[in-house]
Subunit: 330 residues, 2 copies
């Protein structure tokens, strides 16, 4: 029960960065000392510190009551710092991590080797790393156990597993609580910012021709001042007015496509659209991300389709509800 | 931060029994020892043990590694048991409680007096009890502090505050994720069971004439084998077929009404209906309770209305999402 409680905290934290860690998996970690929670952290962005490292740095700050003087997201510095601590610094601590610590040296040093050197009292792992060559971290760890909230830890990394072999297709939708999708911006600033973060990390933003013609969107990442994503417009014909803002952004590719073969390639594809795209893409949609605004509306734009979902995670995004779900039974 | 973390756990637990504690407020409590969580409990039903008592009993079981041999919901026995423990049993413990412990002796002994006798190390309280005569609990407690997650603790007891002076009107709706409300039972067994629990405790189940005519519902509490609620049918005319199941349940009052004056009386009124009732009752609705099923549907029954909501709490109910919200700005 206790292990599950801490693992759930690690999971909830990891969900905050779901998708944003692409091409890495979302991972969360919690550090405790005598059942005292010292740190709850998650991996945030590929190329930066892993969840375990961030949690250990945060636990260090809590235990020493001091602040580190470097960027905790700098994995090289973070590993070096942690390895230079007195050998027994974390020996009474337990770390909970949703995914087996990485055994290989990539853009960042190996977390399994780090944990081995720090000799924590206990390492509790959600699930084994399913990627050959990434697994084996647990063999380095004498006090490691595996298998807590396995189903939840597995769901957390499903996008990661999918984008190993083909496109992970995330369909994003903003709606009122009674399912209306029209009437201007529906979402809170926090939700819109989150969409821009997803746009920044995805390989392709896929959108339907009708949306481009009717809404004339920009589809950039201005709320986070990041590079706009490459766009593919799924349409039968290329008859688009090139004055539509999305065509006029520098350093972005816009392609008009009438086939979906590109979804066979490993990638992260974010889809934004309404009923038309939902029906056109139906067979290809892996997950839905719904920003549900706390409002009932008489706007008549809705979406009419059938799909069976499984709710994976829900949390508040400012005043909105952010609901992650996966399509099942298709 | 730490106080807020434990208070949030107490809040989440209390929300599991929102409405079901009528006429009492929903209250949650957490007991810790050196930041070790010993117990997370909530008040479940009027006339049974309060949240603090259940949390202390559960903490006792954790600390002593034994089980109590009486019904923990029996408040008299529970108080007597806790008062008979060695005087220093809980002196290192902290209790977090969302609402000021009651100072008066009602159906159950005073929790403030109990905590005073047990001399806990710290009593952390969300908000003061707003009811005159119920407050003052904190004065008995030397080590008590007040004011953690006040807004959230206040939202938790809003129904309780409303039903002191007039009817608290909770509108219940079951819908697909795209806002469709037709097509047979939409909710999981767990959600349906929860509706039956709410029906059992409410004073009145209010329903529209059209729903009675068209759906011919039973509106009982068969999933929990409890007494069916009294029903008021809001309709212009009494032209109902008395063979409709809801009329044929023993020991239940069914009244056909064309006015809503009864909402001026302190009570708990659960409303079940669709678009018609939502629009007819609009000005009177305090909270919405939406059971959202993980499904997109092409069923054409939806609900067309405008309302601004504020999401209060969301959790899974088996496969469904259960979303509590309040109407704002009306």
């Amino acid at each position: 029960m206790r292990d599950e409680f801490y693992m759930q905290l690690a999971l909830d934290k990891a969900w905050e960065y779901q998708g944003l860690t692409y091409p890495n998996p979302a991972v969360g970690a919690v550090v405790t000392l005598n059942d005292n929670i010292l740190a709850i952290e998650a991996h945030q962005k590929a190329g930066t510190s892993h969840a375990e490292v961030l949690a250990l740095l945060s636990a260090y700050e809590t235990l020493s009551n001091t602040s580190i003087d470097f960027d905790p997201q700098d994995a090289q510095k973070a590993h070096a710092f942690l390895l230079a601590l007195p050998k027994d610094f974390f020996t009474q601590c337990t770390i909970y991590v949703t995914l087996e610590p990485c055994s290989h040296e990539g853009k960042t040093p190996s977390c399994a080797s780090l944990l081995q050197s720090l000799t924590l009292c206990k390492v509790v792992i959600g699930i084994r790393d399913p990627i050959e060559g990434h697994d084996g971290g647990i063999q380095k760890l004498a006090n490691a156990s595996i298998g807590v909230l396995e189903e939840e830890c597995q769901a957390l990394i499903e996008p990661f597993l999918i984008w190993q072999t083909r496109a992970f297709v995330l369909f994003k939708l903003a709606q009122t609580t009674n399912g209306r999708i029209g009437g201007g911006y529906l979402s809170s600033k926090a939700s819109l910012t989150h969409v821009h973060q997803l746009r920044e990390v995805c390989d392709t933003l896929l959108i339907g021709g009708n949306t481009v013609r009717e809404d004339r969107p920009t589809l950039d990442c201005r709320f986070i001042e990041a590079q706009a994503p490459n766009v593919k417009i799924y349409a039968k014909e290329d008859n688009f007015d090139r004055d539509i803002p999305l065509f006029r952004i520098e350093n972005r590719d816009v392609e008009i496509i009438n086939r979906l073969d590109f979804l066979d390639e490993p990638s992260f594809v974010l889809v934004e659209g309404g009923e038309g795209m939902l029906n056109a893409l139906k067979e290809k949609i892996d997950w839905m991300l719904i920003y549900q605004t706390p409002k009932l509306s008489t706007n008549n734009l809705t979406y009419n389709t059938t799909m069976n979902l499984h709710f994976l995670h829900q949390s508040k995004k400012d005043i909105d509800l952010m609901i992650w779900s996966k399509q099942i039974g298709h």
